[in-house]
Subunit: 387 residues, 2 copies
């Protein structure tokens, strides 16, 4: 069934983003050579990771955090732990990238399950490295936060500069009643990489999903639009993205939240910085059909070069009257007045710019446990340094 | 050339809105029977109109306003006055509706030309009535505001309830250096009408285009997205729409402004009220590629029924760094607190609702000469009464 659906979708392009030929990524050009120490460039110590995958092969699985099951996908499937979750929040025939993940991705990825009622303070780290030039990496990850549990996942994805390829990571997240999942993803690909993550999140009654997405580096093309379904009363979502797009980067990034139950709420915040000749499109959607639903979208774009471009496309969809949706956006360059003001206070132009850019990149990170907050701040700091 | 391009585009659907078969509107079902007195329902006195067209036939042409040439399109083409303007701001092969207008529309419509340097205070009224059931009405209108001139055009479009059909009005507006055109359009179609206006506006250096669009009545389907090109330094555009969508109305309404020259600026404001089972999509785009360009989009939606829907899709496209674009949107129902507050002040619930709805519908109408402002206020008042 899955295989047939995937085969039929293998030529189905994504509605957005540059279309790629899957065949081009099925003939890897050389064997892997990337060292795990590269992880430090995104602020991750490989020794502390619970899960490390290189290309399509898990190389470290450390189930050492109390309250969290850590497995590879193949183990979890074998043990019958994820049958109901496998291709349930993301459809296998969404497009050619989901199809390719199923057919050629190797059926690996991380599975994290937070035990019922457990508030796991320590973040679970996972690392995905694309190492073999010209290859397809398609981890299939599943995270389950059982009733009343709390989990923090930090994922770092990266490629060595010499190893362009296609990353099509499938992530399916399930937050049960009263649960809370915080997911922080830090991307650092090569300027020749193509990245097509496909993420689906289902949040039940009173549950909460918080996501922070950070992209720090130039990339050939990125297209992502995680979909969050709030299906239980009072469920909440907060999605923030900080995108730094230098060089020739082409990024089409989004986030959609579907408020399907009463008193659900969502906030989508994106900050985009472009440099050089980067071209970034940000899409966001809040669709509301639950009574008392509330949603807010905020998009801010900062162009640091004359030949870069930012197109921001937010959407508010009210399907019944008893909802409240709002949106704010601002796109432009650094404020001359603010720059001037800082310079009159004794800062150099360079310093003043840096202060304003860092201020621009600030996102709400309240409610995170200290180690996650520290990780996030470090990632933002590293991203700022690239400017 | 035009004919060939039109023939080739005759099956080209619009990217948005419900697709129609042109053939279905080429076999009118009976002869015209609509009286001009129907115009009073949209606040227009037919005696004061400079141009009245019923179906595809001009029935009144009164060139009595000093400083403005008033002609039919066929006259203007014959006199060689609009050769450079005909299908220049709107392309004949935009889609099947522009193609159908060229091939089957009868080559009629109004042509208004404001003489160089003339500030015409008195508004020029035009009326377009769709009278023959099941027919295609496709007026092709051209307005030229010569250098330094100022003109106000008010257009009322309506159909009798018994005469559904397809209206595909082509409007091409040219505002020359330092000129100013204010265009107020009031639509009142039948619940069975399909409406596909196609409008293009070219504004030169220091020129200004102000548009007010009001749709007051149920409609089978409406799809419109006027495109305004600011091609001269310092040109400005202000577009406001007030859409009241009752019953089964399906509307896909938009507005796009292209800031192509230095220090151009634009504001797009839309207010949408839905009732019953109406479904409204509002699109707006500000695309900026001129240094120092400034743009702002504001979309407000008010749902007065549980089973209606509003989808708002604004877009900001910054193509260079030295631009400043912003956007705000809010969609929801009437504020309970405000209603309650007014009721504590002695208003009935009905009155309180009416006050808040009228407040919601307010748009900036500054800078209009008194007769235009009065006309606009009357139209808004009539629209509010329908609620």
């Amino acid at each position: 069934m899955l295989k047939k659906a995937a085969e039929e979708a293998l030529n189905k392009p994504s509605p957005y983003g540059i279309d790629l030929r899957i065949e081009d990524f099925l003939k890897p050009r050389a064997s892997s050579s990337m060292g795990l120490e590269a992880l430090s460039s995104i602020g991750i110590d490989p020794e502390s990771a619970s899960y490390i995958q290189v290309d399509n092969r898990p190389v470290e699985v450390r189930p050492s955090i109390p309250g969290v099951k850590v497995l590879t996908l193949s183990q979890a499937l074998e043990e019958g732990l994820v049958q109901d979750y496998f291709w349930n929040a993301v459809k296998v025939d969404t497009d050619k990238y989901t199809a390719a993940a199923e057919l050629f991705g190797g059926h690996e990825g991380y599975v994290f399950i937070a035990e019922r009622g457990r508030k796991v303070e320590q973040p679970v780290l996972s690392c995905l490295l694309l190492s073999t030039p010209g290859s397809l990496q398609a981890p299939h990850n599943i995270v389950i936060v059982e009733e009343g549990a709390e989990l923090h996942v930090i994922t770092g994805c990266l490629t060595s500069a010499e190893a362009p390829g296609l990353h099509a990571g499938i992530s399916e997240f399930y937050v049960k009643e009263g649960g809370r999942l915080t997911f922080t993803m830090i991307h650092q690909w090569a300027p020749t990489s193509h990245v097509r993550p496909r993420t689906g999140v289902i949040v039940e009654r009173g549950g909460e999903y918080v996501s922070h997405y950070i992209n720090m580096s130039p990339i050939a093309s990125l297209q992502t639009d995680p979909k969050v379904y709030l299906v239980g009363e009072g469920a909440k979502a907060y999605l923030s993205s900080v995108i730094v797009a230098p060089r020739e980067s082409k990024m089409d990034v989004g986030g959609s939240v579907f408020l399907r139950a009463e008193n659900t709420s969502a906030e989508i915040v994106s900050k985009v910085i472009t440099k050089d000749r980067a071209d970034v499109i940000t899409r966001s959607l809040i669709s509301a059909e639950g009574r008392g639903a509330r949603g807010h979208i905020e998009c801010d774009g900062l162009l640091l070069s004359d030949s870069s471009r930012i197109l921001t496309l937010p959407a508010l969809d009210a399907k019944i009257d008893d909802v409240q949706l709002s949106h704010e956006a601002a796109v432009g360059r650094l404020s001359e007045e603010q720059l001037y003001y800082l310079m009159t206070k004794g800062f150099s132009e360079e310093e003043a710019k840096s202060i304003l850019v860092r201020g621009f990149m600030e996102v709400k990170i309240e409610g995170l446990p200290r180690p996650v907050e520290a990780q996030l701040k470090m990632a933002l700091e590293l991203a700022a340094r690239g400017l």
